[in-house]
């Protein structure tokens, strides 16, 4: 494992966080309207708005606010909600954990279904099975998550097929089955596109790998077909999938905004939507930055795993 590579990657990740934080700060200070009106209600006067702005520290020079903000991002302190005064990190943390559970289940579903399907499709290239899965994945790729969410909600939560609850969240401490029961549909809805994509990606990179010289050599050497597939083929064939899963994590962080709305799932997405409605600046900032940081981290992790699996990478760039 090349340590220089690791250090370089870490530095880049941190720099990215810094720049994104700065951009988010810049953009959100442009927000029209103010939280003061929410706090004061319809009976707000000019002076009152001034006062509230002062109390909330919104009248300090921009530079001061900026430095405060960036330092806060790195220490995990996003300030307090303009509306409730609650520390933002507290609000975000709990919800983030729930959203991560959702992302985890979604990823699990795609790993467990799409990858084997993709491998099989590659192995049985050009058969009916292959064509079926391919056409299916086209449709999956073309259905936006809010459409699949709404349809799933419509068909699987109302009679005659009321197999799932209509939304909400149950902590895993109350049992794995109820926990999963509530997570399954939103995870699936979030997943239709990812499933399709992972399937196709796996299939195509497996096809490439299976036809590559590397595999031909293994076959010529007389290695058993099963071993060819699993030991040699999988390792290389799955490499791109690692990157893909990381990319998809980023995509999931975005699509939760819609999915959680539809399924009444109390996660990050719901928080962001409410914060935007309320012009709750610190929460909006955290809502955008935290998933982004998570994504940057996921990419970082994927890079490291990739370099561990493929020795060619870490030796240079």
């Amino acid at each position: 494992m090349n340590y220089l590579y690791l250090v370089k990657r870490t530095a880049i990740a941190l720099l990215s966080v810094f720049i994104v934080a700065s951009v988010v700060f810049g953009v959100t200070t442009l927000l029209p309207g103010s939280a003061a009106n929410i706090v004061l209600g319809t009976e707000a006067t000019e002076e009152a708005v001034q006062q509230v702005n002062e109390d909330l520290g919104l009248d300090r020079p921009l530079m001061v606010q900026y430095i405060d903000f960036v330092v806060g991002v790195f220490t995990g302190d996003f300030g307090e909600s303009l509306i409730s005064g609650q520390p933002v990190m507290e609000m975000v943390w709990q919800r983030l954990l729930r959203t991560l559970q959702l992302a985890f289940v979604a990823t699990l579903i795609s790993v467990v279904t799409a990858i084997p399907l993709g491998i099989l499709a590659a192995a049985k290239r050009d058969t009916i099975f292959d064509h079926l899965t391919t056409s299916g994945s086209y449709i999956g790729l073309s259905i936006p998550s809010f459409v699949s969410a709404t349809l799933l909600l419509l068909f699987l939560t109302t009679p005659p097929l009321a197999l799932f609850p209509k939304g909400g969240y149950v902590s895993i401490s109350e049992g794995v089955i109820p926990w999963l029961h509530h997570l399954l549909l939103p995870a699936l809805a979030m997943n239709t596109i990812i499933l399709a994509y992972v399937l196709r990606q796996t299939r195509s990179s497996m096809v490439d790998t299976l036809e590559s010289d590397y595999i031909r050599t293994a076959r010529l050497k007389g290695v058993a077909e099963r071993n060819v597939l699993f030991k040699h083929g999988l390792r290389n064939g799955l490499l791109p999938t690692v990157t893909v899963l990381a990319l998809n994590f980023g995509w999931m962080m975005g699509s939760v905004v819609i999915i959680e709305q539809i399924f009444a799932f109390p996660g990050m997405g719901e928080l962001i939507v409410q914060a935007i409605d309320n012009r709750d600046l610190p929460v909006i900032q955290a809502g955008i930055l935290v998933p982004t940081i998570a994504f940057i981290f996921a990419n970082f992790l994927a890079d490291i795993i990739y370099s561990m699996l493929d020795p060619r990478i870490s030796l240079g760039e």
Binding site: I38, L141, P160, K166, R203
Partner: protein, 552 residues
């Protein structure tokens, strides 16, 4: 977004196309022959008028937790700040001097009795001796607290302007439990006015106000029937029964009947309907008509006439709304029946006057005659436009509406279409509620659809919004005859004079005003059948919640 990558070609023969069809079928799209297949409409859950299902109870079950679903969370614990939604919390935790029930009748609360002089300018309130505050070591409510609260609400430190206390000249502490309030002008309905929805006259301990009023923002210092014990921002709020509340229930014991009330914040209407059906919550404080069809299970749905109004404000600072003929043209071209049909089948139509059909002083005689009617009269509209000089049509600047009330979107779209029919053209523009309140509400040069909740007094909206000097005169409309009639009503010392004067106000506003009423919706609520004593008030007041009992 993930990229698509290489793959082998797929066959274009009939087989592949059939596969696509099969997949679509599998998703069940072909199975949607009718609504019945969706398992939605439940005929058993018909919506009953609230008053029809009310019962008189000799006794009610005690104990248990009452889970109720709300649309919005609260932004602050302070009873003096925030939106109307926050009164949901204030009424659990705090008390006013009086309380008003669903028939707009006044009852004692912190004031156990009161008297006034003959011309209704001096009111003396005798307070309960043992109304205890939460988190105050057993301190009880005194006249000093009432005065301190009043002083705070009218001071510079408080940024709002509590309309329920306007016209109060002085508050004097007579003794520990007696307080005297003197008014500038007679007010027959003062005891109702101090409990007006939107009025913030909740009594708060003097010591807290003297020390630091901002403590109210995160601690419950109220004397109300419940005490706030847990606040999970945007998720749920838990209240526990206060010990020894000063008002008794039917059992002869202090309210509330339940041990705990938990408000679950479910902002999406559909979510709330689902939660009620599933039994995740015991009741909802409010539910939209759109989703009542999906409520199933052992649930009673109720409806109540309300004075909720969504008037279109023809701001006279916007040309050409300063021309009364243009305003009349709009009123003629307006088809309120169509709007009603589109939004809610059970609502009622009122007047363009701010006073609604649920109020006692509502002017019923105006419903007939030359009052613009309830459907469109395009000929009269064109005539009025011609008189104003716009026989070729008229272009107006954007109409704004906010997304805080879903009905406004429907009103805006239908209104736009209806006006188009007579040649009045304008775009519509949607704002967030917050932007509307911050940048457009009560400003010059913009017009929009506003909203007022049901007030306890019919005269409140005119007082706020239709008088020339009204603090919320959104249309900047000024009419001498109206002001004169309103003044007569305000200073009346007997019911008949007051009623007659207010009815004249309504006539003037309806004909000449810049306030275009649309409709008054029914409001809807619902509860599981094991909930007892649920009583949906037409006003925004939700203290009926603290009077519910659960039989679990």
């Amino acid at each position: 977004m993930p990229q698509v990558d290489t793959d082998t070609t797929i066959e274009t023969d009939r087989r592949s196309i059939l596969k696509v069809g099969a997949t679509l079928g599998a998703i069940g799209i072909t199975g949607l022959a009718g609504c019945a297949g969706l398992g939605g409409s439940n005929d058993e859950n018909t919506i009953q008028p609230n008053d029809d299902v009310l019962k008189d109870y000799d006794s009610l079950p005690t104990g248990g937790t009452f889970n109720i679903g709300a649309q919005q969370g609260i932004q602050t614990m302070s009873p003096f700040q925030g939106f109307l939604a926050d009164y949901l919390v204030a009424e659990m935790m705090y008390d006013r001097l009086t309380r008003v029930d669903q028939n707009f009748e006044v009852h004692p609360n912190l004031a156990k009795e009161w008297e006034s002089n003959d011309d209704y300018t001096v009111f003396t309130f005798m307070l309960e001796e043992n109304a205890t505050y939460s988190n105050m070591d057993g301190e009880t409510v005194t006249a000093e607290d009432v005065k301190a609260t009043y002083d705070y609400l009218t001071s510079d430190d408080f940024s709002g302007s509590p309309s329920s206390l306007s016209g109060v000249n002085e508050i004097e502490v007579i003794d520990e439990t007696t307080v005297e309030i003197r008014l500038d002008e007679p007010d027959l309905n003062f005891t109702k006015r101090i409990s007006e929805t939107g009025g913030a006259f909740f009594i708060v301990p003097k010591s807290i106000l003297d020390e630091d009023p901002s403590q109210l923002e995160d601690t419950d210092y109220g004397s109300g029937p419940l005490e706030l014990t847990e606040w999970n921002q945007q998720n749920n709020i838990t209240f526990t029964a206060a010990s020894d509340y000063h008002i008794e229930g039917v059992n002869g014991d202090p309210l509330p009947y339940v041990d705990e009330i938990e408000w679950d914040i479910l902002s999406d209407d559909i979510q709330r309907a689902n939660a009620l059906s599933d039994g995740d919550i015991d009741a909802v404080s409010r539910i939209s008509r759109n989703v009542t069809d999906r409520v199933q299970g052992d649930v009673q749905l109720v409806k109540q006439t309300s004075g909720l109004q969504y008037p279109i404000v023809l701001n006279t600072t916007v040309e050409p709304f300063d021309d009364p003929n243009v305003r009349k043209a709009i009123k003629y071209a307006l088809d309120r029946e169509e709007i009603l049909a589109a939004v809610t089948p059970d609502g009622v139509l009122g007047l363009h006057a701010g006073v609604t059909p649920v109020h006692t002083y509502y002017n019923e005689e105006l419903d007939t005659g030359d009052t613009f009617g309830t459907t469109a009269d395009p000929e009269m509209a064109q005539e009025m436009l011609a008189e104003a000089g716009y026989s070729d049509g008229l272009e107006i600047q954007q109409l704004h509406y906010d997304d805080g009330v879903p009905a406004k979107e429907t009103i805006a779209q239908l209104f736009q279409q209806q006006m188009q029919e007579v040649g009045i053209e304008f775009e519509i523009n949607r704002l967030t509620e917050e932007t509307w309140l911050a940048d457009y509400w009560n400003q010059d040069d913009v017009w929009y659809i506003t909203n007022y909740s049901t007030r306890v007094l019919g005269s409140t909206v005119p007082q706020l919004a239709l008088r020339s000097d009204g603090p919320w005169n959104e249309a900047s409309w000024s009419n001498e005859a109206y002001d004169e009639a309103f003044q007569r009503a305000a200073s009346a010392t007997d019911e008949e004079t007051k009623a007659e004067a207010l009815k004249e106000c309504q006539k003037i506003s309806h004909r000449e005003g810049a306030w275009v009423g649309t409709f008054h919706p029914q409001i809807y609520g619902g509860y599981q059948n094991h909930v007892k004593n649920y009583n949906l008030y037409p006003t925004y007041i939700k203290d009926f919640v603290s009077r519910c009992a659960v039989d679990k």
